[in-house]
Symmetry: C2
Subunit: 159 residues, 2 copies
């Protein structure tokens, strides 16, 4: 089962190494990770999407909570949150496919960020379904390269 874990961690060397080792030791595969600064320079927020049984995820959550650099941990499956992901896609284009591809971009409200002789590069942010929808529809045209951030999330409401 897919789980999304959001952790506020102290911004010091080794945090990423120790956290990802905890997942590896519990035989859980991390499918995506996003880690960046927060409103507080000394704190980072890590959002990890991982696949594993509920028991394995519970074990790694316990391991992480015991680590001194972990300030707060949420399993986002259980809470209401806004999730977003960003993707850059470079897709093959020719004079026949051009107008169709541009229409797809318009429907998805994806922004063109680069253009070459044979490819066009587009940016889209949205929830995972929207991002995966665009990837799926562009696939037959030929995706030359692609880069996804992994999911980030904030709780809904004022909290």
């Amino acid at each position: 089962m897919k789980h999304t874990i959001s952790a506020l961690v102290k911004n010091r060397p080794g945090v990423l190494a120790e956290s990802s080792t905890a997942f590896h030791n519990n035989s859980i595969n991390i499918t995506s990770i996003s880690c960046g600064e927060t409103e507080n320079m000394e704190v980072s927020r890590m959002v990890i999407c991982a696949e594993g049984s509920d028991e394995d995820i519970a074990k790694v959550t316990k391991d992480l909570q015991a680590m001194d650099f972990v300030i707060k941990l949420d399993d986002l499956a259980r809470k209401e949150f806004v999730d977003r992901e960003l993707v850059l896609i470079k897709v093959d284009v020719n004079k026949d496919s051009m107008s169709q591809i541009m229409q797809i971009f318009e429907v998805f409200r994806a922004d063109v960020v680069g253009m070459g002789q044979k490819t066009i590069t587009v940016e889209l942010s949205g929830d995972q379904e929207r991002v995966e929808g665009l990837i799926k529809i562009l696939h037959p045209f030929g995706i030359k390269s692609m880069c996804r951030t992994g999911m980030i999330a904030l709780k809904r409401g004022d909290e």
Copy 2:
């Protein structure tokens, strides 16, 4: 000095743990990381922003290249690339500050994704300067919480 390293890696357990340990062993602090799937299900792309001397970065690059799961490695400082980052910001709002905050969102073309009684949550994707510009301008209003993806990047042109 800030470096941005982009790596195509095989999508198997332990990759993140081994990679981040390599940075830690070379005393390099990772400031942000984004890792997600690519156009090929068996391959992930990892973009790591790290701070360290040129020598230390060269050492960790060599360590990474020696790992069997690393397919391709680029130090993006030396190449032309499109970089993007995504941020979610929950900012305090009241009836006096509301119109000013909405004007800022308009200037930055940031999208409102949630609203509470006392806060408003906004999403922005852009290069690091733009993202940091919005954070800086919203700071005086009170940033309640924030989540950044870390940078992702693709080479410019058709390659």
